[in-house]
């Protein structure tokens, strides 16, 4: 085989392997077992098995649920995925963007009292980028967290 046809063969091989890998990944259900976070509904559905294991759950911070006590560094709130609401309790101040209605990914364990004890709260911002609406002061929102306590 001469050089040119060997190169073409290699090109076809590489394109097939690469294309096949992408196609397989788009079709496979691999991601269903390897989840970065669960929804509260999925965690609760696991029952006993879902307790006392470190997991991440994601939901929206429920309205009027945030209770932040700066003296004790105690943060309590509820998250909601549309079906299930779960109480969260954690220590330390959350990231600056934390507010009611925003998406959060919480890492921690679900206790037998159905309270999820978090040791990490991350914010999941959606893909919307909008200027502030009338009367809003971007960047100041997080301050209302401390003031509201």
């Amino acid at each position: 085989m001469n050089d040119a046809s060997r190169r073409r063969l290699l090109a076809l091989g590489a394109l097939l392997i690469g294309g096949g890998a992408v196609g397989w990944m788009s079709m496979s259900t691999m991601g269903d077992d390897l989840v970065y976070y669960m929804s509260p509904t999925e965690l609760v559905a696991k029952g006993e098995a879902g307790r006392d294991a470190t997991v991440r759950i994601m939901g929206l911070v429920a309205a009027d649920s945030v209770d932040w006590r700066p003296q004790e560094q105690l943060l309590r709130f509820r998250i909601d995925d549309g079906q299930t609401t779960l109480a969260i309790e954690g220590r330390g101040a959350p990231p600056q963007m934390f507010r009611e209605g925003i998406g959060v990914v919480v890492e921690g364990r679900l206790g037998s009292d159905q309270v999820f004890r978090s040791h990490d709260v991350l914010i999941k911002h959606d893909n919307e980028y909008q200027p502030p609406q009338e009367g809003e002061h971007p960047g100041d929102i997080y301050k209302t967290l401390a003031e509201g306590s």
């Binding site: 050089d3 040119a4 190169r7 073409r8 290699l10 090109a11 091989g13 590489a14 394109l15 392997i17 690469g18 890998a21 992408v22 990944m25 788009s26 991601g31 390897l34 989840v35 970065y36 976070y37 929804s39 994601m58 939901g59 929206l60 995925d81 549309g82 959350p94 990231p95 600056q96 963007m97 507010r99 925003i102 998406g103 990914v105 990490d120 709260v121 991350l122 914010i123 999941k124 911002h125 959606d126 893909n127 919307e128 980028y129 909008q130 200027p131 502030p132 609406q133 809003e136 971007p138 960047g139 100041d140 929102i141």
Partner: protein
Amino acid sequence: MELMRIKDLPITADLAGFAAVVGVIALGAVAWVARGGLTRRWEHLVGLLGLWMVIVGQYMGLVSSPRERMMGEVGRILYVHVPSAWLTMLTFTFTCAFATFFLFSGKRHWDHLVEATAEVGVVLSILLQATGMLFAKPTWGVFWDWDPRLVSTTVMMLSFMGVLTLRGLLDDVDRRATWTSVGSILATTSMIVTYFSVRWWRSIHQMQSSPDTVADPMVFVLRWNAFAFLFLTVWFVVQRARLSARREALDAPPALPEEVPA
């Protein structure tokens, strides 16, 4: 807000836009190479346009565009982070295209463009990762997490770094060109997975924004900066391809000496 992974989101619009940009640049590149593009320094005009646009664009991004509703001033890093992401993916797409052209035609100028786009793409992906980390800390709360989008982006960056490392290890010019191209085509897989990672898997990273989810004045600034980055990238790639061609000419073994009569 998307709670679950969304696999079946319509992607026709992004694909059509992407195909249009790729098509125009690919035609330009083919025409350029066909006319012996390395002989004239036309790219400086494009580079100057890019430089001017990036200065104006960053002024708009930092000063004149509105603050973001939730993120405030921090959101302005969007105008660097998102164009770097787009250009990283576009550049690696061209690495793959040029690699295929090389393997089918055997013409060395495609190899120079493979090296140039892979290297510029790696630099862009470093910028992407750096701005992403700076963006993530004040918004999500962490610089890094083991999340599908962040991991796949890192795999993409390392894959192309690996291709460049492999290239550096091979001395024979033909073997080097062939295996760089094969490696580049395989590495492109990681780029496609990175793009779709936020749709295939649950991620802390938001899905791709579109003009429907971004306010008009921000869309304009984003597009402006994307074109600024595009023109600068073209300048860097052409410069780098030129350098690659010169290096190869320099490394080429000297012509065999004439038979010296005894």
